[in-house]
Amino acid sequence: MGIGVLGKVYEDSETIVEQGGTGDCMYVVQQGHVTVCVKQGDHEITLSRLGPGDVFGEMALFTKEPRSATVRAEGKARVLTIDKRGFLKRIHEDPTLAFRILQKMSERIRKLNEEVARLRP
């Protein structure tokens, strides 16, 4: 992926975040794509596919709950880590920094609402 890049490169199908694991950071996709999956019994369900600029793992910044999903690289993907501690310190100085995360979370809730409404009999 060249020398002028930021973040860490993950190979195809490499796990970036494991469901049930602990986390103290969130991630931003810089290049390539990742898939977000959850285990349900013996099956794994793909929830979404994220691309450049998309954020994942942000719930770890606000709760101490285990990771709610597994995220894997789809093809080669480059992902940047955002450390929890530095991010929270910065939000304390500048609360507007959280706006974009809240916006993304709102979009996800909207999509989930639509999905739930679609699945209800």
Binding site: L6, G7, K8, V28, Q31, L80, I82, L97
Partner: protein, 444 residues
Amino acid sequence: MELQEGARVGVVGGGPAGTLTSYFILEMAQRAGLSFEVDIYEGRDFSRAGPAGCNMCGGIVSESLVQMLAAEGINLPPPVVQRGIDSYVLHTDVGQVRIATPGEEMRIAALHRGSGPRGAAAGPWKSFDGFLLDLACEKGARHIPGRVKELTWQDGLPAVQTDGQPARPYDLLVGATGINASGHKLFEKLGFRYEQPRTAKTSMLELLIGREKLQDSLGNAMHVFLLDLPRLEFAALIPKGEYISVCLLGHDIDRELVDHFMHSGPVRSCLTEDYESGSEACHCSPRINIGEAKHLFTDRVVLVGDCGVSRLYKDGIGAAYRAAKACAATVVLHGVSEEDFQKFYWPACKRMQRDNRVGKALFLSAGLFRRLAFLTRAMLNVARSEQRPDSRSRALSTVVWDTFTGSAPYTDVLLRSLKPGLVLPFAAACCCALLPFGEGKGSG
């Protein structure tokens, strides 16, 4: 004194402070359901190589700033990032140590502020300042190329005069002129007693090495030098695509000092080829902000970036980002009166100023390390032991990292350096370094 729908904002200076202020003013205004007109006055053409397109800077975006920009939705793409830095090597007169980022991640961006040094052939890279200017324009700002000739007051509004154009009045005027051009002097004439900050002269060189040789010599590491050379505080070699940027900070830096540094043992050990005086592709002596500007704002006028308050020695672009955000939040959410800036913008500036005082003390103590070999040996030994895979602590390494990369506030660095987890092993290493049989020489 709130800005209303359709308010006009003039920004003098299209470097990071000016473009980020414009970007965040427009973004926050959009969130609040408002639409402003923002004009960015910038005479430099960032697509040009050499001094014509360059705002003269080492070109490092710190680890913390890379992350904060990403959280803001501003991701630095490969044409802008000349090299992702994953480690740095601290060189001293008694040895060196390599400190890597966690998880082998490229966390620091080395970039060109313009389109490369003088003589650089057109390449796939893009100017960082140009990238930010494009972002601001995509948000809705208008770039007005051309030099600002004069600033005046028209019916209580600040007005901008460029060559051959009538003066344009604005509801808010933002000064982001930096301190190397003379633009900040225009604000001194507006009559609100603005005084520019104290400055120091640095020296920057660009050496054309070639991509492969650069990979062999410096790799993806930034090299920082803490050498006991008269008049030199510290220096850095920053690898970029085809070039090495050499940055020197000290007192009265002249050609003699530059040559002395470049021919020193630690520097020669980094470069695969001997440096020849005068072989650099580009050379400049930019000034940096080291003091406190006075009276940064009045009704409808505010200064951001280097011409106002910046971080001491390090992370100037990060300081511009912080000031830009604070300014934008004040302007959109509160107002543009002097009281608004005093209440909501000044605290962010004051925080940086207070932190800089701590930074001054930290860099003074770095001077002690330069002069006392046993302290340096102890530091290197502790840092080396912390790099081992089985090491549980990176306390001293992260203090050294954050001091020399500017990735954390200096106050934070100081507090961490006083913790027992760092002090005790360091004190023990000092004792060993003082004993004749305990001298830890060699490279890390």
